[in-house]
């Protein structure tokens, strides 16, 4: 798995996503499938935690408002790839 995908998985874990649905989504994402953000049930707190993790641990500055501009996790991967290049 590429490092951007790994970052997102770690950030999602830090976001404390509750319920079996999001857990299954992360499993699918780990298998290189794309996942819609809508399927992750990211509430405002979880979105904040997600962004905080990326910024504090990887220096990737995305703000909660911007996260929801993206439809899927693959789109976020592309964004992170761009920011890192």
């Amino acid at each position: 798995m590429n490092i951007s995908r790994q970052m997102i998985v770690s950030a999602l874990e830090a976001a404390n996503l509750a319920g079996s649905g999001p857990r299954e989504c992360i499993h699918r994402f780990l298998k290189d499938e794309d996942v819609l953000l809508a399927d992750l049930n990211l509430d405002s707190l979880a979105t904040m935690e997600f962004c905080i993790y990326l910024e504090l641990n990887h220096g990737i500055s995305i703000i909660p408002h911007d996260v929801h501009q993206y439809e899927s996790l693959n789109a976020l991967v592309n964004l992170i790839e761009e920011m890192r290049s």
Binding site: L17, S20, L56, I63
Partner: protein
């Protein structure tokens, strides 16, 4: 608090940095601390922009200031909704163990209720701590917060208490043994829902509510325990020598939470509470809309804090309706009516829905039926099935003109309705027993093959123990016969058989209205 906030935010240059501080504060600040922070900070000249009644933030504000304004606005809004009195509830924080914190107002706990709270993965009760605590009366309650151990879950125990779940329950019991509370109740949210229920069963607490709790078949529990969670629930339930009120709340649109609550209710006698704030999205965070409707305190009062226990049966859950039906609650929206009522008391699948549509066309409103937005027919039926509480259901009927389906056709309800609502009209819908059985069987096995709860309700309604033609038919025919015998010779009683062509010409003269210029409806034709 002001000094602490200024120190924590001094080096915050990004939105994410400030959000991190705010989340930590949300999970730590008691009502007194929050009020002290808000009032103190907004009294400073440079923080005037945080006042929520100011229109927006200055155009010169940076991103961090915008985030601060948003946070203060949101926090203040939530806190105001939780505030049921002028003063901040004076809870003090007393750490008990690594994951266990007591919020208490010093005083004799002999007259207090202890509320044991099991948090979810986010280590809080779905909402910030200050508005949560503010929803309780500190003079009457202590709050014991048991925080979800990140990465492990309650199923692997709690550090500092035990490394197993069952050991943790025993350790909690030891921890509480020196504190003699009048009552102990529990709330669990999300991943804390099941532990709250399990602890309550094992330790015989007085009441419990799980909000958006996990599914009892969650395989992670099985992995941790080595056997199915349902077995543990049944074991605890069996060893319990009293019946405790169990409430399971969920957002109407959070399908996994709905399934989880229904699955747990199939194992345990529990009251299901659907959180539906006028159709607005709720999702997993089901406590938030209750808070934002300004009714969290009332909701807690009506569920875990004040259920009345009689010698063996819990009788108060109808109060729950007052909390979760929000503004559409029948007792607030619909006035009590006088005059005759119109009851369709035929068994399900005999044309009851059609009669409901007839009532609608004839203007006999409001109608108490499954599709009514003003009542929860399953909850009312549950009151009868589980608690034999007919009085609450009869009270609900005060607000409606016409009635069909459950709970109005359960057992001898028709006699109770006849006693309460003198001069009312009763319609028994019936159909050929063979076609009725085919319709019921199809409904339960083809239309809803996996809906165990639906089947259970039928079994309870007919007082039978299995889905079997002869058993069902006997019960169905016995009910119809009992109704006919009861009303024999009465002119306020009508039998209708829609299969045989009964329609407006029979119904309208009976209820005393002209025949309308529309075709007789046929709903749910099978």
């Amino acid at each position: 608090m002001i000094q602490l906030y200024l120190r924590l935010t001094l080096h915050c240059k990004t939105i994410n940095q400030i959000n991190r501080v705010h989340i930590a504060l949300e999970n730590w600040m008691t009502p007194v601390k929050w009020e002290s922070l808000y009032l103190g900070l907004t009294s400073l000249e440079e923080y005037q922009f945080l006042k929520v009644n100011e229109r927006g933030v200055p155009t010169s504000a940076n991103d961090v200031q915008y985030a601060q304004h948003d946070w203060f606005f949101r926090m203040n809004q939530m806190y105001a909704k939780a505030k049921t009195c002028e003063v901040a509830q004076p809870f003090l924080r007393r750490s008990q163990r690594q994951h266990v914190i007591l919020y208490t107002c010093p005083g004799d706990c002999k007259h207090k209720t202890l509320v044991v709270c099991f948090t979810g993965l986010a280590q809080r009760m779905m909402i910030p701590l200050a508005p949560f605590l503010q929803s309780f009366n500190a003079e009457l309650t202590d709050i014991l917060m048991v925080r979800y151990p990140k990465g492990k879950g309650f199923r692997h125990g709690l550090e500092g208490l035990s490394d197993s779940f069952e050991g943790t329950i025993d350790a909690l019991q030891d921890l509480l043994s020196s504190k003699l509370y009048a009552r102990t109740v529990a709330i669990g949210v999300s991943g804390g829902g099941l532990p709250a229920v399990l602890c309550s069963l094992k330790l015989g607490w007085d009441s419990v509510i799980s909000m958006s709790g996990n599914h009892p078949n969650d395989e992670r529990w099985q992995e941790a325990l080595g056997f199915r969670l349902a077995e543990l629930i049944k074991k605890y339930q069996k060893s319990l020598n009293k019946k405790i009120p169990i409430f399971l709340a969920y957002g109407w649109d959070a399908l996994p939470d709905v399934a989880a609550a229904e699955a747990l209710a199939a194992i345990l006698p529990a009251t299901l509470i659907k959180i539906n704030p006028k159709g607005k999205p709720v999702g997993h965070v089901s406590m938030l809309p209750i808070l934002m409707s300004g009714k969290l305190s009332q909701f807690l009062q009506n569920t875990i804090l004040k259920p009345t226990i009689t010698t063996s049966v819990q009788v108060s859950p109808a109060r729950v309706l007052q909390a979760y039906k929000d503004d559409s609650l029948y007792s607030r929206v619909l006035p009590k009516l006088t005059g005759p009522r119109y009851f369709c008391i035929g068994f399900n699948k005999t044309g009851t829905t059609t009669i409901g549509r007839c009532f609608e066309i004839l203007g006999l409103n409001p109608i108490a039926e499954p599709r009514s937005p003003h009542m929860d027919y399953q909850h009312l039926s549950h009151l009868i099935f589980e608690y034999g509480d007919f009085d609450r259901v009869l009270d609900a009927a005060e607000h409606f003109r016409a009635f069909q389906d459950r709970p109005w056709n359960i057992w001898d309800m028709y006699q109770r309705l006849d006693g309460r609502f003198e001069g009312s009209y009763f319609i028994l819908t019936e159909r050929n027993p063979e076609t009725w059985w085919r319709s019921v069987e199809k409904w339960l096995t083809v239309s809803h093959p996996k809906d165990h709860d639906k089947l259970l309700r039928y079994l309870k309604h007919l007082k039978v123990d299995r889905l079997e033609k002869a058993t069902f038919l006997n019960a169905y025919q016995a009910y119809n016969q009992a109704v006919k015998s009861y009303f024999k010779g009465r002119d306020n009683f009508l039998v209708m058989n829609l299969e045989n062509g009964d329609g407006w010409d029979k119904l309208c003269p009976f209820v005393g209205v002209p025949i309308p210029h529309v075709n007789f409806p046929h709903a749910n034709k099978q």
